[in-house]
């Protein structure tokens, strides 16, 4: 069971909002880069987020560039999972490859700052602040296995190949 606070965002949060291209010179200096997480969506996010918190977004989270630095800095900020109504394809794969769960559910039922309890195994989210109970959609088996191993690199190290 994961517990933490919800940081709510709207629809169409792009990888440029999460970590813009202008900071590309910091991409080989991840601790510095991570200080700018979500900067163009909410400049106060980096200073307020705590280990264990959740990003809760609307539709099409993570659209745009393929930069894996986007889920990487979110993970480095301590975010335990991303909850969204829908998520862009490349971002989805990237997050899972880094071992960061992305859960598709009706996030309209969650408010900013709510305390959440996420049960990955059961596929449920409980909003402890307003009492709402949500279920999230199943993700493909291959992604679940990658997630189980903590990401694609540990998965490949263990199996040496894709197992589908």
């Amino acid at each position: 069971m994961l517990t933490g606070r919800a940081f709510k965002f709207g629809d169409n949060i792009s990888t440029d909002h999460i970590i813009p291209g202008r900071l590309a010179h910091l991409r080989s200096n991840l601790p510095e880069l991570a200080k700018h997480v979500m900067e163009d969506a909410d400049p106060t996010f980096a200073s307020r987020v705590k280990a264990g918190d959740f990003i809760v977004a609307g539709n099409n989270f993570g659209l745009g560039s393929s930069r894996e630095h986007a889920p990487l800095v979110i993970k480095m900020a301590g975010v335990r999972a991303i909850l969204a109504k829908s998520v862009a394809r490349i971002f989805f794969r990237n997050a899972i490859n880094l071992g960061l769960p992305v859960l598709i559910c009706n996030t309209a039922l969650i408010d900013d700052g709510d305390e959440l309890e996420v049960d990955l195994a059961a596929g449920t989210v409980k909003d402890a602040t307003n009492g709402n109970q949500l279920t999230f959609s199943k993700i493909p088996e291959v992604m679940l296995r990658i997630l189980d191993e903590g990401g694609l690199i540990p998965y490949i190290k263990k199996y040496g190949d894709f197992k589908v």
Binding site: P20, G21, R22, A24, H25, E68, A88, R89
Partner: protein
């Protein structure tokens, strides 16, 4: 039951009956990364414990996003990629060669290929009938080592395009119109497949423009059949032997079919800050523009520079509007010099940059000031995209861009043609 282009290619490369929804493991014909995603790709490759590339001559690195490098952080990333290329024997296209997607189209992609790139606009090669898609650095790193990757075979949406483009209207207006219609997530997890008499009559350049922007509707691929045009294009580059014809089956199953008659289209523009926020250029008359940018993997090809040069010939840019032009590749730069387009553009007041991404992602060479607006021929206008979250980006065709450079405000190109 017949197959879509995506199903055909993924069946062939996975050695299985690949149907929409299936998970398959497919051999990749080309894997590439560029200078802002490559360093993490290299590190993930090393962390994974791989000692060699699965296929060095089918692996490519491109120094194009920061070319030449504006600061030492990026210079060190370039060094890292050059060193990796020396060690592994992969291809490297150094500063000045141009944008990865353009070079992939010119020199590397062939119909029926599976191509993955650590860049979302890898979809561009779909214009040649390759199943090409963007991935992150870790997926790319594993494909470098294994020579294959997994895919969920996408459902496909068929876009049937018919009619003749009115004067001043082209492929960019068509794809902006389509994205406006289906939305920035209208094709998420799916492939877009383009057909119809307009597509049959299109040269490769507009096909690449359209395929390039498929990802702006969330699509995994933007695919065109490989036909006579594809054959002629490859032959013109001395790669005629790489041609194979590739068409979807007539009884293939599509998630939906969308018909567009281009005779009804008008010059179209995306407004800040999402690509699907479209309007007609004439509806935005009066919107002041401080910078016009013509270039990128979307519209930095010879035909695009020709359109701009024809409109700007003998004219001058508006005194309060700067015009930046970046050809997409060295080949295009040379051809544009030979055709006189570069001279025309410079005489009109343009700054011409070396082949590469130019100011597209806000690293250098045209970062916007607070409150400034840019009309760009690129594919993305997200907040902060061009280096400043307090600036505004509009997207349009090369014709709209050239017309806007003359008047200093968003202008329907038919007004100045």
């Amino acid at each position: 039951m017949g197959k879509t282009l995506a199903e055909k290619i993924l069946s062939q490369k996975s050695g299985s009956e690949a149907r929409a929804g299936d998970i398959v493991i497919a051999k990749v014909d080309l894997v590439f990364a560029q200078d802002t995603t490559g360093p993490l790709t290299v590190r993930q490759f090393q962390t994974s414990g791989f000692e060699r590339l699965a296929n060095p001559p089918k692996t490519a690195l491109f120094l194009d996003h920061a070319a030449p490098s504006p600061n030492y952080g990026l210079s060190n990333d370039h060094k890292l990629l050059r060193q990796f290329a020396r060690q592994t024997g992969c291809l490297i296209y150094d500063v000045g060669n141009g944008i990865c997607h353009q070079i992939v189209a010119e020199s590397l992609a062939k119909p029926g290929d599976v191509i993955i790139g650590a860049d979302s606009h890898t979809v561009t090669a779909g214009g040649l009938g390759a199943f090409a898609t963007g991935m992150g650095s870790t997926d790319t790193a594993i494909a470098l080592g294994l020579g294959k990757t997994w895919f969920q075979v996408p459902k496909s949406i068929m876009i049937v395009v018919s009619g003749n483009f009115p004067e001043g209207v082209g492929a960019k207006d068509l794809i902006l119109h389509l994205i406006g219609q289906i939305g920035a997530d209208g094709a998420t997890y799916q492939a877009l497949e383009f057909s119809g008499d307009t597509v049959d009559n299109m040269t490769m350049s507009p096909r690449l423009t359209i395929a390039n922007m498929a990802v702006e509707a969330g699509a995994k691929a933007g695919l065109f059949a490989a036909d006579k045009t594809t054959q002629d294009y490859l032959a013109s580059l001395g790669r005629g032997n790489h041609y194979q014809s590739l068409f979807p089956d007539t009884d293939a199953i599509y998630e939906q079919t969308i018909n567009i008659d281009v005779a009804n289209l008008e010059p179209t523009v995306s407004q800040p800050h999402t690509v699907d926020n479209i309007a007609l250029a004439r509806e935005l008359k009066g919107a002041k523009i401080q910078q016009v940018f013509i270039g990128t993997c979307t519209n930095g090809r010879l035909e695009d520079l020709a359109v701009a040069a024809n409109i700007l010939k003998g004219k001058k840019c508006h005194p309060e509007t700067r015009l930046i032009v970046a050809p997409a590749s060295r080949q295009i730069m040379l051809a544009a010099i030979k055709a006189g387009y570069i001279q025309t553009l410079i005489e009109a007041g343009a700054v011409v940059l070396p082949p590469g991404c130019g100011p597209c992602i806000g690293l250098h060479q045209g970062v916007l000031g607070d409150g400034e607006s840019c009309l760009s021929t690129a594919n993305r206008n997200f907040k902060g995209r061009m280096g400043n979250p307090n600036a505004f980006i509009y997207l349009g065709s090369p014709a709209t861009a050239a017309a806007t450079a003359i008047t200093g405000e968003i202008t329907d190109p038919r007004e100045v043609m």
